[in-house]
Structure formats: structure tokens, C-alpha cells
């Protein structure tokens, strides 16, 4: 599974209580950005990549690539599964295909994770500028 410090995983996105609180406080608060620009990982997977809690990682799928902070999952064990809270960061990498029902594939997207010590986690407005050229 590990090839040059790159791990093949299944990406899930979803709700966390921190994201829930963050979105109610306001989307331009730092609480919100910090709550959703993260990626929860199984501790064993983090060991495989040799990264620590809070390290920057690059998550890539067939649809895009984004840098977020890796966080040790409290909901482990779930080896091979990573979890990014709903938000603009997750949206870069989810699968837009709706299979004719209107619902994109937000959960269960094949992805890779690799350490990205040199790449920054973009702030919200930088991310919007990068993705949409607006904001």
C-alpha cells in the first residue's frame, strides 16, 4: 500500500461537531477554517507515512488535490480510511459524479495521502482565489 510515502486510502467527508459549531460562528472565522481544513487519519496510517499530528498532507483524487492538516482520529481504528469535514477544502477532492440522482459522491472516493511538509494549508480566501479566481 505504501509507495514512496504515498498511501492509497478511501476518502470520506462528513460532519464534525467542531465544523457544526464553526459554521454557526461564521464561515470567515478562523474556527471554521481550522475545523474543516483537516484530515482525520488512523494512527497506524500516520505511522506508515511517518507523520505527526498536525503535519501538512496532500490529499489527491482523480478530481483534484488539496493540502490539509493531518489529525489523529479519535474514532480509530479505521485503517485505509481518511475523513475530511465538509467544506471548501474537501470539495476540491470529492467526486462530482451524481450517477443521475443529483447527489455527488461525497463518501468513498479513492484517494492518496502523502506528507507535504513544504506546502502550506491555504486560508479560505486564498483557496477561493485559487479555485474560482474570485473572493
Amino acid at each position: 500500500m505504501v509507495e514512496k510515502h504515498k498511501l492509497k486510502v478511501v476518502l470520506l467527508t462528513g460532519r464534525t461537531i467542531e465544523q457544526g459549531v464553526g459554521k454557526e460562528l461564521g464561515k470567515i472565522t478562523s474556527e471554521y477554517a481550522e475545523s474543516v481544513s483537516v484530515c482525520y487519519m488512523d494512527p497506524e496510517d500516520m505511522k506508515k507515512l511517518d507523520i505527526k499530528d498536525g503535519a501538512n498532507v496532500q490529499v489527491s483524487t482523480a478530481f483534484g488535490s488539496v493540502v490539509v492538516k493531518a489529525k489523529k482520529s479519535l474514532r480509530a481504528p479505521h485503517p485505509g480510511v481518511i475523513y475530511i469535514p465538509y467544506g471548501p477544502w474537501a470539495n476540491v477532492v470529492v467526486d462530482p459524479e451524481t450517477h443521475g440522482i443529483g447527489m455527488p459522491t461525497f463518501k468513498g472516493v479513492p484517494a492518496t495521502v502523502e506528507p507535504a511538509p513544504d506546502k502550506p494549508v491555504l486560508g479560505l480566501s486564498e483557496l477561493l482565489k485559487q479555485q474560482f479566481g474570485k473572493g
Binding site: 461537531i17 459549531v21 461564521g26 464561515k27 440522482i101 461525497f106 463518501k107 473572493g135
Partner: protein, 486 residues
């Protein structure tokens, strides 16, 4: 200090209506009975991130403008559009949604609500199967078996368990809270005994385990309400459960169909389904068919991946099957506080719960074709009005891109992500804090929302803003007809 009681919380689909707010100088200063999200929401109306003045993008930058100008611009964009999208609606009142539908009809647009990216697939399957369900009080009074599947109420609906299910006090079923506390205590005790045994007796660990086990009967055999959680991760809710089934990501459909076969007393020709041993499943099925009243709640874990809508098809079929044996109900855990209301108003006015296309002058519905994400992905729309929602933070990038590329109007209280890439931004009052209205709880019970404080000066409720846009659109259309006639 005035205290307002019985306030409904405009956050999640549980719509707790027992919140007590303390108001001081026209501001909410204290929130009682609410969860963390509730507190954050009620305190956020004073946030510095509020939008206070309408904004229009000029040469790529926002400039402040008057409400009249912002509404005029909005109306022009919508009246000129050949295929506009009107999206959002789940965080506002039914009264505002009603005006939104009239506006969509007037401009011949596609109107869609956030169900499309949460429980839209559930609605599609309900349209195939129907849904045996009930109000939450029925579960509180009667359910002796509660299943949460692909949802984590502890994080997303924090008071759901205490108000409506396992830890609620009902007429025929009592709260399982005490049993749960006893379990926690015994687990802590068990840990202590274990470490003490290790230190003092120095026996083989397996021997200690063997001695300890018999006193801790598998809790699924225990009397009273039982809680089963099915999820891909061991969530907080899963930790409270009597029985936790960790399903392989994307394999819920197989698990549900296997349960159905077992409920029908059929044998399976496999040992494991979705990573779960079939013997475990048999135990779970026993608990299901032997309960007096079971309730299955499901979340986005079932709708957003894998078999998507057909996960729900299987879940609904499972409940149909179970009703041949006992009483069983099922309910989606609706996210936004009024997404159910949006579905309701859409349905009574147009016949369909979401993804309604008015471009031919009458309601048409076919998610996949008329749903907003697909319309955006195919690049068909030429303008968008977003009300009470934040699609740029919830849609896949490619869909959000098309929104941002075309004229985009945002109506809402906060400088949301969508607002930041919009062309016209109209600030609105917080529904349920600064404006009254009606919202529907996840079980379709309508709950009134209160106005407890005034909105900032000059900021109107969504309903009023939409009315003004609608009348401006009609004015523009009249002007145009006149000009054409002349």
C-alpha cells in the same frame, strides 16, 4: 433581564423548542438547554462577520450599495436569465420558501433545496417504496430498539438521543440513561480490576479475562431500550451503543440486503458480509424481530456514497419486511433545521420535494436532470440566486465553479463562502432569532420560530427581500412588454 422561553433552535433537524434565552440590550447573552451548535448560533447574531450593508461587485471588488440598488440588480439578472438557478432554502422559514417558489415560477428557473446534497437520495427511494415512519414522540414513548445507521447524532444532532430516543423518558419505555451510566461505570471498574489484578495477582491475562467475563453479559441481551449503531467509524454515538457494527465503507447495501434475507429466515452462502461475520448479523436480526417497537435512523453515511439512493431502498425494504414481524419505523436524520420544511412547501405547491424546473411554465422534476448540481456540472444555468445556504462550501469544486462563473446573488446573514464569490450580496435577518416563521422538524412536525431580537438596522428578513425582488422582476417584465408593444 428578560428571559424568553420555549424558543426553537434554528440549527439542525431536531428543532429543539425548549431553548431559554436571556436578552440584554437587544442581544442574546445567555443560552440555556441548547447544545454547542445552538449556543454558537444564538450568539452569532452579534458576530463581527455579519453582513450589514448590501454589496455589489464592481471591477472584481465589493462596494457597498443601497438595498434598492441591490434588489434592482438582482431582479435584472433574474429577469434576463434564460435558465436561472434558485438554490438554498433550508435555513429559512417556510414563508420565505413560499415566496422563493413564486419567484422561481415567475423567472422560469430551476429551484432546488439543500436536500439535493443530503437526503435527496432518500426522497427518491421514498418515492419508490414509501416510508413507514412516525413522529419522534412515538419513538420516545414506545421504542425499545433504536438503530442509528450511517449517522452520528452526537456530532450532528447532539440532543436527539436525550430528547427523542434512547435516553428519553416515555410512557411505555423508560430512559436507558441509567443503564448506560451503569455500563460506563462498570467498564471503568473493569479497567481498574484488570490493572489491579495484573499488578497484584500477576496471573495470566487470559485467566483474568475468563474470570471477569461472565459478570458482563453482552448488553444486547439486556432488558429495556437497546441501541445499535452501524457506521464505518467508531463514532461517539457508537461508543454509547449496546452493539456496534463497523461496516466496510460503501458496503452498506450488501449489509442491508443480508439483514433482509435473515429477517426472512433465509440462509446466506457467505460467512462475512461487508466485513461483518454473519453470526453477528443473526444476533442483530434476533434483536430486531423480537423488539416491540423498533426505530431506525439513518444519515448521510447511506446517501452520499456506495449505492446511494439504493442504500435507502434497501433500508426501507428492511423496515417493510420487519413490519411483517413486529412494529418498526424508519426516519432520515435531516440536517438543516428547515430542510424538511423546504421539501414540504415545495411538495404542496409543485408536487415535488426538490429539484423543480419551471422553465416550461409548469413544475418538472427529475433529479439528475433538474437537480442543481447536475445543472451546474453540465454548465447549463446562466445565473443563480442563493438564499439561506452556502453551496460553494458544500458543492464539489466543479459545480461551484459554474456558480461563480455566472452572475451570482447571495441572500443571507453571514459572509459565507458563497457570499465571498458572489456578485450581489444582500444581508438578511437570522430566521428564528431576528425574524419569525415556521420550520418543520425531521419528523414533519411544524414548529414556530420566534423573533427574539431586532435585526441590525436596515436588514430585512428573507421573506421580505424575496417579495421585493419578485415585485421588481414583475415590474421589469411589464416594462419590457410595454417597450416591445411600443
Amino acid at each position: 433581564m428578560p428571559v424568553v422561553k420555549a424558543v426553537s433552535c434554528p440549527v439542525c433537524g431536531s428543532l429543539c423548542d425548549d431553548i431559554e434565552l436571556t436578552i440584554e440590550n437587544g442581544e442574546v447573552v445567555k443560552v440555556k438547554n441548547g447544545c454547542a451548535m445552538c449556543e454558537a448560533k444564538f450568539l452569532s447574531h452579534r458576530s463581527e462577520h455579519r453582513i450589514r450593508k448590501p454589496l455589489i461587485r464592481k471591477d472584481g471588488e465589493f462596494v457597498e450599495t443601497t438595498l434598492e440598488e441591490a434588489i434592482r440588480r438582482t431582479a435584472e439578472i433574474l429577469a434576463e436569465a434564460n435558465y436561472p438557478v434558485l438554490y438554498g432554502w433550508s435555513n429559512t422559514s417556510c414563508e420565505a420558501i413560499s415566496v422563493g417558489i413564486e419567484l422561481a415560477e415567475e423567472v422560469g428557473g430551476v429551484i432546488d433545496n439543500t436536500a439535493v446534497v443530503c437526503h435527496g437520495p432518500s426522497l427518491l427511494s421514498v418515492q419508490d417504496m414509501g416510508i413507514p415512519s412516525c413522529t419522534l414522540g412515538q419513538i420516545r414513548h414506545r421504542a425499545d430498539l433504536i438503530i442509528y445507521w450511517g449517522c452520528d447524532p452526537w456530532s450532528a444532532h447532539p440532543r436527539h438521543i436525550e430528547r427523542y430516543t434512547a435516553f428519553a423518558e416515555g410512557r411505555f419505555e423508560k430512559s436507558a440513561w441509567r443503564g448506560y451510566m451503569a455500563k460506563i461505570r462498570s467498564l471503568i471498574g473493569l479497567k481498574k480490576i484488570r490493572s489491579a489484578a495484573k499488578r497484584l495477582v500477576l496471573k495470566e491475562p487470559s485467566e483474568i479475562e475468563a474470570r471477569l467475563k461472565p459478570t458482563f453479559v453482552p448488553s444486547i441481551a439486556r432488558e429495556g431500550r437497546k441501541l445499535i449503531v452501524v457506521d464505518v467509524r467508531r463514532t461517539k454515538t457508537a461508543e454509547m451503543a449496546d452493539f456496534f457494527i463497523q461496516v466496510e465503507p460503501g458496503k452498506d447495501y450488501e449489509l442491508l440486503q443480508a439483514l433482509r434475507a435473515l429477517v426472512r429466515d433465509q440462509e446466506l452462502e457467505v460467512d462475512h458480509v461487508a466485513g461483518v461475520p454473519v453470526e453477528y448479523l443473526e444476533e442483530v436480526v434476533d434483536a430486531m424481530v423480537s423488539c416491540d417497537f423498533g426505530a431506525l435512523f439513518f444519515g448521510l453515511g447511506l446517501t452520499m456514497g456506495g449505492a446511494k439512493l439504493r442504500n435507502i431502498d434497501a433500508a426501507l425494504s428492511l423496515i417493510r419486511d420487519l413490519n411483517m414481524r413486529t412494529k418498526f419505523v424508519i426516519m432520515p436524520m435531516r440536517g438543516h433545521f428547515n430542510v424538511t420544511g423546504a421539501n414540504m412547501v415545495f411538495t404542496w405547491q409543485t408536487g415535488y420535494p426538490y429539484a423543480v424546473d419551471f422553465s416550461l411554465g409548469y413544475p418538472r422534476y427529475n433529479p439528475g436532470e433538474t437537480s442543481v448540481v447536475d445543472v451546474l456540472l453540465r454548465g447549463e444555468s446562466d445565473a443563480a440566486l442563493v438564499v439561506a445556504s452556502d453551496p460553494v462550501s458544500s458543492f464539489p469544486r466543479k459545480a461551484a465553479e459554474h456558480l461563480a462563473r455566472n452572475p451570482l446573488i447571495y441572500v443571507g446573514p453571514h459572509m459565507d463562502v458563497t457570499a465571498q464569490v458572489a456578485d450581489v450580496v444582500i444581508p438578511s435577518a437570522f430566521v428564528g432569532i431576528e425574524a419569525p416563521g415556521t420550520a418543520y422538524r425531521m419528523d414533519h412536525v411544524p414548529i414556530p420560530l420566534k423573533k427574539v431580537v431586532d435585526p441590525p438596522e436596515g436588514v430585512l428578513p428573507d421573506e421580505e427581500i424575496l417579495r421585493r425582488i419578485l415585485s421588481e422582476v414583475r415590474k421589469i417584465k411589464r416594462e419590457k412588454t410595454k417597450a416591445e408593444a411600443a
